[in-house]
């Protein structure tokens, strides 16, 4: 196994609560004379993290989940409140916008300072300066004070310095987002080359596209704790599903008195499993939905079965009466039906399968029961489902332009 570059054990960070200036004085006294401190707000708790040489880790999480704090702890900008973090090798860090540039100085001066901060001496800097300036590609702005730069230019400059360093471990925090399209591409290409050459990357991004493209592993932070870590596709899908569920409209489910309505769902199962746990399915696998409906007056119901994404976006819905079918009577006032998808084309992600009994005319909905379905798979296709497709030979001549 390759060398362990980052090793965090039980890592935690808490900030002191400082409301009034007298709090600061008290904190100072405590730090100087006793060492213990009281009121703290914890932003990161119990993080265990291993990053080996050659690995690429994506850090994802909602705003305020502690991603930047974790990066700052790794780079040594912050001191851990609990636990420990050990980092071997040279670290190139690009934390947030600005990367520690001084606004009053020219790009050239800031490059010199950044290079010194990363341990380059004067001769080394002179050797690499043309390369850095070429990578940043900001023209005559290189001699202007950084305060006159656009945010994209600041990132270009910061990235150019890091790129020339080729550090053992590269740590970047959501910097690609501000660069323009061509610079993003340049950075992604550079990072891919860097990873191919055995570089190690920790990338924070809200772009799952970048995370999936560049990282093999991912770690999802939620409220300062590791919610999930592992393969990049598993983690990003779980994370996106969580977001979708969060943004789903919280419909107040009317409390259905299942014994008094005309039709109600007695139970449902996915692939024969009736538990509440989400069903895990591989992309393209078959799915079978079974359900039993109670009919108060022993009338034959219609049954609708639908699939929605975790945020409530409908994907597909079909009912027995649409297809000219009727549920089977299995007992007094009890009906059952079964629906099979031979190869479910849902793209990896989290979905909800819903069952609704309807009146025989297929007009009125009486009840709802749902189960969660998670589709796994390593694909970067977009959307909800895979549409049948094939790439063909291009049209000859100008036909394509007409």
């Amino acid at each position: 196994m390759s060398e362990l570059l980052v090793e965090a054990r039980g890592l935690g960070k808490a900030y002191p609560k400082v409301h009034r200036s007298s709090d600061r004085l008290r904190a100072l006294g405590r730090l100087l004379f006793s060492g213990g401190d009281a009121d703290r707000i914890s932003v990161l708790r119990d993080v265990d993290l291993d990053v080996r040489r050659g690995e690429s880790l994506g850090l994802i999480g909602a705003n305020g989940a502690g991603k930047s704090t974790l990066l700052k702890l790794i780079t040594g900008v912050l001191t851990p409140s609990t636990g420990s973090v050990r980092v071997r090798g040279q670290v190139g860090a690009l934390l947030e916008l600005g990367a520690g540039f001084h606004p009053e100085y020219s790009g050239r001066d800031n490059i010199a300072m950044a290079a010194a901060l990363h341990g380059l001496d004067g001769a080394e800097l002179r050797r690499r300066l043309p390369e850095i300036i070429a990578f940043a590609d900001i023209g005559h702005y290189i001699d202007e004070p950084v305060k006159h730069y656009s945010s994209g230019m600041v990132v270009r400059l910061g990235f150019a310095v890091i790129a020339s360093l080729k550090p053992d471990l590269l740590v970047t925090d959501e910097v690609l987002a501000v660069g323009d399209e061509s610079f993003q591409k340049k950075c992604v290409r550079w990072m891919q080359d860097y990873l191919d050459d055995g570089g190690t990357l920790i990338l924070v991004s809200h772009s799952m596209y970048h995370i999936q493209k560049l990282c093999r592993h991912a770690c999802w932070l939620r409220d300062g704790e590791v919610a999930m870590a592992g393969d990049v596709f598993d983690v990003t899908q779980a994370y996106l599903a969580w977001h979708e569920r969060k943004s789903a409209p919280q419909e107040a489910q009317p409390a259905v008195d299942r014994h008094n309505v005309e039709f109600s769902v007695l139970g449902m199962s996915l692939d024969g499993r009736s538990g509440e746990q989400p069903l895990l399915l591989d992309f393209g696998a078959p799915l079978r939905v079974d359900c039993r409906i109670r009919s108060r007056d022993d009338r034959v119901p219609s049954v609708a079965i639908g699939v929605t994404r975790a945020d409530g976006t409908p994907v597909y819905g079909v009912s027995t009466d649409m297809d000219g079918r009727t549920p089977q009577r299995v007992g007094t006032g009890e009906y059952a039906c079964s629906l099979a998808f031979d190869a479910l084309p849902l793209l990896p992600g989290s979905y909800t399968v819903r069952v609704h009994p309807l009146d025989p005319e297929g007009v009125r909905v009486f009840d709802t029961m749902e189960r969660t379905l998670t589709v796994r798979g390593a694909t970067r296709e977009f959307g909800l489902v895979r549409l049948a497709h094939r790439w063909g030979a291009p049209l000859a001549g100008d036909a394509a332009h007409e």
């Binding site: 200036s21 004085l25 900008v77 912050l78």
Partner: protein, 259 residues
């Protein structure tokens, strides 16, 4: 943390400090020499021609050389402390994004103040030597040597102040009031012999008193300094520096939480 060559880094910060002071002014670094000369002109006009200040005694030096030999070291000392107290706070953006040994910021700031004022000091001594002949220029190496413990003293105080300033922002304001008090509590503008005998020993409690006296002994052969007090001054400077480092190290890890 990265393996840093602190020498290169300190040098960069020094460069930056220098430029911060002199860019924007037309004459650039010439200003570093011009400024003390103008100040010298003002002092000699005000004190000698307006106040008619004189140092008592038959072979006493003129008032201007008397003042200059203590005031310039004081300027280096007080400016170093005042400027470096807010240096951590002013570099919050850098500290929040890059891991670096923060002592370097204080060190660079103190070095700059001393470098600027020592250069001015030497220039003024040369001018006075040519103009009045009062200055014993052979004492210059000893005078420069005196800057070593003075630098240690200033660095120690600066480290502690810069660290505490992160937590208690009033410190820089307070120092602006305290430092002039310390100056007037040392024989910078006046001769110790002019004070009532009962007060004179108290002056020795002020750490700068030794330096005011010692610089004059070296450059003007005025007054006297015992070896004993040299030893005390060196020990005090070393202790203050050590204490400053301890305080700084202790608070260093928590800067980010309070900046």
């Amino acid at each position: 943390m990265n393996a840093m060559p602190p020498a290169t880094l300190t040098l960069r910060f020094l460069q930056r400090e220098f430029r911060e002071r002199f860019t924007g002014s037309l004459s650039g670094s010439a200003w570093a020499l011009l400024q003390p000369l103008i100040q010298l002109g003002v002092y000699s006009f005000v004190f000698v021609h307006v106040f008619k200040a004189r140092i008592p005694g038959a072979d006493a030096p003129g008032y201007v050389p008397f003042l200059v030999t203590a005031l310039w070291p004081w300027n280096a000392f007080s400016e170093a402390i005042l400027r470096s107290t807010s240096v951590i706070q002013n570099n919050a953006a850098l500290i929040g994004k890059v891991a670096l040994p923060r002592e370097i910021l204080v060190l660079a700031s103190v070095c700059t103040s001393f470098a600027v004022h020592i250069a001015g000091f030497v220039a003024i001594l040369l001018v006075l030597r040519v103009g009045t002949g009062d200055i014993a220029i052979r004492g210059l190496p000893i005078a420069l040597l005196l800057y070593v413990p003075l630098f240690a003293l200033a660095l120690g105080i600066s480290l502690a102040c810069a660290a505490v300033q992160v937590f208690v922002r009033d410190l820089a304001q307070l120092l602006g009031q305290l430092l002039p008090l310390m100056m007037f509590g040392a024989p910078v503008f006046y001769d110790r012999a002019l004070l009532p005998p009962a007060v004179q020993p108290w002056l020795s409690l002020n750490p700068f008193t030794f330096y005011a006296d010692a610089f004059r002994v070296a450059l003007l052969h005025h007054g006297s300094v015992e070896w004993q007090s040299v030893a005390v001054a060196v020990v005090v400077a070393a202790l203050v520096l050590a204490a400053g480092i301890v305080v700084f190290r202790r608070l260093d890890a928590h800067f980010e939480d309070f900046l």
